[in-house]
Assembly symmetry: D2
Homo-oligomer: 492 residues x 4
């Protein structure tokens, strides 16, 4: 495109297709058009180009804005979307089209366009994550009293409820949403006017352009503007962490829906069967979500490696970061979407869960705590006694609900040569999982009332985030409408 | 340690050394002692243990607090620092020591201790990054008028100043500091009371403990408390991104101090020579800083992979994340420290820079801009004309300062068959790099006055961060002193 | 597809599009058809299905083989290419088509198809890497006497030749080719017959199928067959390492084509200019190749994370590894291709290189070696003396070719208070870079004759690899032709 | 150390400690001494240094060889182990010690020393992996008839045996061992004589040194010798893949030892209990091994990022790769060691496994295959019928062993409106898991006899590898002894 001044030879075909970014740039089409609109208006306002010239350019940009990107001429010779847009305008508006690129470079334009596109994308990811949180919290609300074993080290540990687990995942996902909030804030700064990296001597107005594009502030330094992609790395990190959190939900879905655990039923619409084993019900959605986490780690790793040791300012390497960014965005958004639907339909097998809690010695800690409270034993002694009780029971093939105070007494003797006294009712209360759960009414704990309180807190946070999202979305949208209105007026 | 109830066999030696974490836990020693102090006070306040018992325990914890960690008994059988602390107390305070672990688990304790240690560490990293920013801004202040070529694609592009480059790096690093701010905020939430993951039925007071340990709030859900390490992943991401930014400074130091660029002099104290080539001056500090970035990416990647698809709640896998976290912290802190010292001593070779700017066609854009402004040419035409001027000059072996208005005119004819008129003085002004830089007075640009303005903005941000740091540091410190004071009173 | 027996509900649309793999499976189309051909022939030969049935199936498979994949019905309900193929056959051949899937599962079929596709792809990557080696070795041959400074720590160190550098990169790339060789060997093992993972009780003949598909041997264990993708991880590692090696060539191209180094001229066809700076010549191909390395690291990292802690046997997670594998393949192949063309056209600026060698103290080591050999000094003393000589010269602004024996003598005095005697001719010989290079005639060294010897060795290795490639390519191709011939006969 | 000629200032303390590598270099101590021995002998043989001088040096090196590395002076000013060794010799042997460094550089020496150390380390990793394979194969041998459900998608799929699973993991690990074999071969090439990167004009004999150090061949190009670490990347890749394979064993241990699966008993010596839940038995060794995989991915990723875009030849960045390499080596070796011990003690709960196979519809495929074979149904029809049978049974709460031929007939009607006839005995045989397994006698399949055959194949491969290991180990050891003998003779 720009070769004619400098070079005598065209680019080698393989080199040209190797370095063009047209396919990936489609996502930047509208933002690039918007930037050109805002920039052109400013150029005219500042007298850098004439009103009639700007009018022609804006008219053509408006046509372009309403054109389906699929219908544009995307020949590789155009290198990138920036050139496609410029060519379109020059073709329509004539030679004056060339003035649109005054005091502007692909370097600042691409940074600006990525940020504009990203603002939208981040909001969409957050929206889907909020959906997932809501889906989990609804499960939580419905299952405040659904007893289930809680796990540590993939081993049954203590009794809790399905509600408590669902709230735990929600709490983690809310931090993901918060991280994206921070990242949004960090990217909402305008690079336009940085030009190649050193600004321009033409009397442009950076603030006007930033305002028209809905940016909150200007980048502080023009070299930094075109050289940095840490805003993208920050978002990719937040996405990778969020995929970690979703992969953990996926893992539990897979574990719990196994025949052996049999604690939840995954809705048929989110499962598949086997081409060879007709009895199978495979949680394929959970498998894919789990696997995709790795892919997003890869995107982040690729982007970090790419940025390492790049000298300032712009290098074409930066172009290769963007596809990884979009992939991380898309995959996280899709994972949140499909998981929110799946989790809404998951059904806990309440009886299985309850029976497993009862038989699994999960109230051992509660029993030890009781020994501490009622008998004043040091916790370590209580631990040793109950440990022995469990060992003895295992040997005799008994489950905890089959044990008596006498078993406890002899365990105490075996373990510490210590006589203890405890009432039948205290003993029975301690080993009843529903009691144990209800007793754990501390903030954040599993008791139905405190989980209800957690849900309230988490719902409130979710609402707050929704509010922020809406404000941001409206701001961006209204800014765009205002810009288009102005363009329409000026292009008449 | 806790095996005697449950198991009959000791752990296999290789298994025991494979799973213990004592070496890495040293960092958690003081935080673990503090947690035990706060927890014991709370237990006594709530009547869960008696005042005399708590007094004995606290006395022993105070002794322990003042003990050099290197002198503790760290036999592998203790598994981790939590057991070492408990053993110490039991040994000193007798059997009542066992009560300290009431309503507490290693699961919540380790999460709490990591967060306490991390609060300190994050502040230290930020402090060093601030040092580095200050070091760069001082260079910037001293070099507002130090002309140098600015680069894109590792090619000389347009003139700018050394000040502008140093400010660019500062702006990026300030975002790193901000990201650590966000991460600090996100980690400052107390997991204590989560116990194994399901809380306890004992009437503990989570808020009291959180307050005594200086946490801003409670974790919302106790399962999440012991299962999650996204606070660590968030910090590691921020560190990895910061290492990217420092590796880019390092790369430029290496590039610019090469014989070919010869644009800066690295202080001898940060360089080494060769065992075989006596003439060499190698920027080894920059090389190590560049290389370390990769290591931190590895830490982050390791941590993400480790967390992927882990079912809730606690799994011992989490233990293996911590060493990677500490390494990322240490390496980033050290890199910032040594680079801030090195960058303070870097000397720009002003004459070399100036000559290169003059001879390198770097004012070509300025010349094109002039054609746009003075002659009203579309930018694309101006670009084509100047492109041809450069091509012609290269062929004749001329540099830009040897060119005349006539050369420009004939270039215009060659490129576009177009006659142009421009005054000698406009031409001369356009191709003078000092003029070009001075003319670029837009916000964020290279003109000395606007760089001065940037420095002010960046200094202000730095001061704001320093203020936050100090407040946080004081808060943590005063909280600790208050806790110790209380312990001293109660252990009398 | 297979849902009708097991489920009552269709898959949710988002879940179905989330889990299908049709887009990525296009690459497996032909391999899947081939597998079905070989499998059907075997089923008929073993009497598991009747000859007429097999004849109908094969006829339809042959049609399918000759069908453009773009024209196939790829509705998401088909989930993957396996189902698309089966549906096609059932549609054409009628109900007997269903027999094709006897004693076969998607699990073994997909592993087999990936391996078949991969055999081809690996050969193509190797072919392009060989092209690149040849391109570098041709440069090497043409530049045996092209003196240039050699670098350590990005600093001029000792004199060498452009030929020596080009041979160095070739040697590294030949190890990449070798690694792909090893990986090819490792993947050339047939999973077919593993079915879902436990084989079948039907009397199939695994060896016959393996032979017809050109596999060298059978997988040893059928669970392992469908569970493992380490063959893909091995290839992705080899590709990542090869991208490292190519990124290093790219880095040097960028460095050396900078105005400051000015040591090579990149052909115009592989460079671009700037939209704003008409004088720029940017090595964009090298930038993209450098950046892409990061992407391939990401693919590898994603794949490793994905595989971590997956229980056996087949999990749908494995499906998500394949796109990362293909991307790594494609990017490495393209990088090698475009770099081989670019490197063929690179022109060393011989005069610049020579002058830099002369002026850059690069012969200091040679001078020190001379002091060792001629005067019997310990190397450390010689090092100290020459170091001081360089320091003194730098201070006086002299380059090495301006120094005299007297300068050396006084440096010796300054450094060690030692008097030395050396003849003018020895001194002059030592500091002449062409002499220094010619003198380094040891194997692997820079002397023109030994570089010529290296080139011979490297060319021989390249030829050996080419031979292996050709044999493998022919084997695969002939096997396929034989299979098709057999299908044609049987489907008549 | 070498500063005195070139610099006037000492290195800044923080810079010096930032760039020294002494701690990590301990591992290179003996290799560096050996290299100096071989090099000195060669220098004397070639007349480059005198016999008496070499004698003094060798004597001192022999003393050093027998010195505990912990007792050496490791002051940071020495930078690295190379200087420590040289200083020791100079101190003991006097000024002639300085001659040892003639025609040698730290650049080639460090590459050589890493390779020598690595040869040993790789053999040790392989040894432990072989142990693990043997441990798994012994389990396999003991459990040829131990029926268990085989899984796909974490769902019970078809019956197989514990032996078949253990053999599957063995097959994967044997590929890991093979990859390390290839890597060993690739690293066994000598860089010595490359000096800084350009060799030397002194008449050294590279082949003699390579022989004395047990290298198989010379590196082809001296620049490549000091610049490349792809041998390390190749090994790290192989280790990362091996950690993937071990993490999958670990995951199954965790899954299968859960209360819900209850299919294996992990030996107490490899488990721990909880500080709060006395009934717990946690497979902590498996958890750590699973987690460590992530760390090794991180090491690899760090190393790849570090190497990306490094210009040739030596850069100090390379120094930072080595600690990641050693960590990957150590962790893989330890994982294999502790897992081989743990897996030797794992006990399958045979009854649980058998009951689960019976009740879990795992023979559904076998039943479908029977319909294909006995009735000539297309597989898809058989699949649909058996799918419906399973659905009906699930609804009625029946397990497969409670079903009858009539159930099958009505399922056929429900699914396809098709009447089928099958004998009671064929039906019963098909749904008996022991029958199903025994019938799958194809190579690689689960039938006891074919698993026995697999074990033989895998044992043979293991033996072959053991043989290679022993030869390599002996070669290296004998070469070292020969060198020491020669040194003793010459230093008299």
């Amino acid at each position: 495109m720009f070769r004619k001044g400098r070079f005598e030879k065209e680019m080698e075909a393989s080199a040209s297709s190797y370095t063009d970014s047209l396919e990936e740039d489609v996502r930047l089409f509208k933002p690039v058009v918007q930037i050109n609109m805002a920039h052109t208006i400013m150029l005219a306002d500042r007298g850098i180009i004439s009103k009639p010239d700007s009018s022609k350019i804006l008219k053509s940009l408006l046509n372009l804005y309403n054109t389906d990107v699929a219908k544009l001429d995307m020949s590789p010779e155009f290198e990138d979307i920036h050139m496609v847009v410029e060519e379109f305008v020059i073709k329509e508006a004539g030679e004056v089209g060339g003035k649109m690129h005054t005091a502007k470079s692909r370097n600042d334009q691409v940074a600006g366009a990525i940020k504009i596109a990203l603002r939208d994308e981040v909001l969409k990811v957050q929206e889907n994550l909020i959906e997932l949180v809501n889906s989990l919290l609804s499960q939580s609300e419905k299952n405040l009293n659904t007893l289930m074993p809680g796990y540590t080290h993939t081993q049954i540990a203590e009794p809790t409820t399905f509600a408590h687990y669902m709230a735990a995942h929600s709490a983690a996902l809310l931090r993901d949403i918060k991280r994206l909030d921070d990242a949004y804030e960090s990217l909402n700064s305008c690079p336009l006017g940085a030009c190649a990296f050193a600004g321009t001597s033409l009397p442009i107005d950076r603030n006007q352009v930033a305002n028209m594009l809905g940016f909150k502030r200007l980048d502080d330094n023009t070299i930094d503007s075109v050289s940095s992609r840490d805003f993208a790395l920050q978002i990719m990190s937040a996405l990778a962490i969020s995929m970690v959190n979703m992969s953990r939900i996926a893992e539990e879905v897979l574990l719990w829906s196994s025949v052996e655990f049999n604690m939840i039923e995954v809705p048929d619409e989110f499962a598949s069967t086997s081409s060879i084993m007709p009895q199978k019900k495979n949680s394929v959605v959970a498998e894919i979500a789990r696997a995709k986490a790795g892919q997003i780690f890869g995107d982040l790793m690729g982007a970090l490696s790419l940025m390492k040791a790049l000298p300032l300012s712009y290098n074409l390497d930066l172009q290769e970061l963007t596809p990884m960014l979009w992939n991380a965005i898309d995959q996280t958004r899709d994972a949140a979407d499909v998981m929110s639907k799946m989790m809404a339909g998951v059904k806990p097998n309440k009886d299985v869960m309850k029976n497993r809690v009862k038989s699994g010695f999960s109230t051992a800690t509660e029993l030890a705590d009781t020994l501490v409270m009622k008998l004043g034993l040091p916790f370590r002694d209580a631990h040793a006694i109950v440990g022995r009780l469990v060992l003895n029971a295992s040997r005799e093939g008994k489950t905890i609900d089959q044990l008596t105070v006498d078993d406890l007494k002899s365990a105490s003797k075996d373990a510490l040569e210590k006589k203890i006294e405890i009432s039948e009712s205290d003993f029975t209360a301690a080993i009843d999982p529903a009691n144990a759960v209800a007793a754990r009414g501390l903030p954040g704990g599993p008791a139905p009332k405190t989980v209800a309180a957690q849900i309230k807190i988490l719902r409130d946070k979710t609402k707050q985030h929704t509010k922020i999202l809406k404000v941001r979305d409206r701001t961006v949208h209204e800014t765009e409408q205002k810009l288009l209105k102005r363009v329409r007026e000026l292009s008449r």
